[in-house]
């Protein structure tokens, strides 16, 4: 039973540390951030994805879980105080096991672009694999990123998301205890 697994050991300090990691990741796209708080989430949920959910999700937000993570639903229900939503198209947070069609997630409106989804996507590696070059706010110079686990047409799909700025989703890639954030403001090219 996954419920027996604890959440953050120190809910206040660990959530703060995780938040700062995500804030830094979002502010400096492509720069990997490590979650250092000890955490034993139920499989197949990884440490970084679990920490982000514990930090940001509660009863005031909606979370969509891909079926792949059904085993973690009770754990999240207990520690986040939220019932996973069956509706992927309106959820504020989406945890997917493969890149969904980004246009099917909440995009926000021109007046309220913040009402868009934050997508969490576990990948195999954030140090090796397909290579991209990132440009945009947060980056002084073009910054490289290597990822294993994204679909081959990712750059084109991201370009479509970025093109709708200020609308669009924000993506957090998670590999084990490490995460990289790609805000919608980011333009990404294949390197």
């Amino acid at each position: 039973m996954t419920l027996s697994l604890p959440g953050f050991a120190d809910p206040v300090a660990d959530a703060q540390a995780c938040f700062r990691a995500v804030l830094t990741a979002m502010s400096r796209p492509g720069t990997p951030q490590r979650i250092t708080s000890p955490l034993t989430p139920p499989a197949p949920l990884g440490i970084a994805a679990a920490a982000v959910l514990l930090t940001l999700v509660d009863g005031d937000t909606s979370l969509y879980l891909a079926d792949h993570f059904a085993n973690a639903a009770d754990w999240l229900r207990f520690h986040c105080g939220t019932d996973p939503s069956p509706d992927r198209t309106t959820a504020g947070f989406v945890l997917a096991d493969s890149l969904p069609d980004l246009a099917t997630l909440a995009q926000g409106s021109d007046e309220a672009p913040q009402d868009s989804a934050t997508l969490l996507l576990p990948v195999e590696s954030l140090t090796a694999g397909a290579r991209f070059t990132l440009r945009g706010p947060g980056l002084q110079a073009p910054t490289p990123l290597a990822v294993t686990g994204l679909p081959p047409d990712f750059a084109a799909r991201w370009a479509a998301n970025h093109a709708q700025f200020p609308r669009g989703i924000d993506l957090i890639l998670c590999a084990g205890d490490t995460l990289v954030a790609l805000p919608r403001s980011l333009s990404l090219g294949e390197a």
Partner: protein, 285 residues
């Protein structure tokens, strides 16, 4: 960990912090766009920096070193009061040294010393809406931002130029962030505007009473509105600091006697002290 009983670390409850943290992340993802948030009544009044305080409370960790300035000075009463609030509720270390701080909360100034990638600058914002003097309705300004309909602001600035030969806004001078959103930089003097551009530190803006949060990520383009034939120019008093001799810093004008005597001194007290410690001497020192 907490040094005042009955309250959570950094005063705010965790649910409130999560709400603010979610807003902050969206704010960073959409540079310059105002995100409405469920601002709480804080134990300090609206207008005293409740927006900045809520952001600081939501980001602050036990390892942070906090600096608070008002008008550039660490020792102004409101800066003292806010610094004490966090020392009391979060038990964090505080400093007056710009280079020693990880989080700097400010009202009306950007420090003179360049900030680094390891710092976060939190602004207290009284009025987050840059279009407010042109259009008082928030329903309408929200629409104008959605359409990037900023012509009225350019017209307003141009009217200034035709009447006064220059733009007559000397603080809270509007900027374009990332070539998309018109943004109020809070009432910093226009002198500070160039520092907003491509700053290595993350800049977060909180307006408590107006219930808005916005952000400028590090290394983001921030352009003060201007015209090709009338480029933006930032003013400062044409003097050197009387204490440290600095001739590029922003100066306060102090009336020193009843005969109209004036002394000009750095508004950034840490900058001034650091220079004096390094042996720089002004004419009045």
């Amino acid at each position: 960990m907490t040094t005042i009983s009955g309250y959570n670390f950094a005063y705010l409850d965790e649910q409130t912090k999560r709400m603010i943290r979610r807003a902050l992340l969206k704010a960073v993802a959409i540079p310059g766009h105002q995100i409405p948030f469920g601002s709480r009544e804080m134990p300090l009044p609206y207008g005293w920096g409740t927006g900045g305080i809520q952001i600081t409370a939501a980001i602050l960790g036990a390892d942070d070193v906090l600096k608070v300035i008002d008008q550039g000075a660490d020792d102004t009463t409101n800066a003292v009061s806010i610094r004490r609030f966090f020392a009391k509720t979060a038990g964090v270390a505080t400093t007056t040294r710009t280079d020693a701080a990880t989080v700097i909360q400010t009202r009306h100034r950007i420090p003179e010393a360049p900030l680094t990638e390891n710092q976060i600058l939190v602004y207290q914002v009284p009025q987050p809406e840059p279009l407010v003097k042109l259009e008082p309705s928030r329903a309408e300004t929200r629409r104008m931002h959605a359409l990037a309909e900023y012509g009225a602001m350019h017209v307003r600035l141009y009217e200034d130029i035709t009447r006064y030969g220059q733009v007559a806004i000397s603080y809270d001078y509007p900027v374009m962030v990332n070539d998309r959103y018109l943004m109020a930089p809070s009432p910093i003097p226009a002198f500070d505007n160039p520092k907003l551009h491509q700053m290595p530190a993350l800049q977060l803006f909180g307006a408590g009473r107006e219930k808005r949060i916005y952000a400028i990520p590090p290394y983001t383009n921030v352009r003060s509105l201007d015209f090709e034939d009338h480029p933006f120019r930032a003013g400062r008093a044409p003097h050197a600091c009387g204490l440290c001799g600095a001739d590029t810093s922003y100066l306060d004008e102090v009336v020193v006697d009843n005969a109209g005597g004036r002394l000009f001194v750095c508004s950034d007290t840490d900058y001034c002290e650091t220079r004096r410690d390094a042996g720089h001497v002004g004419e009045a020192a």
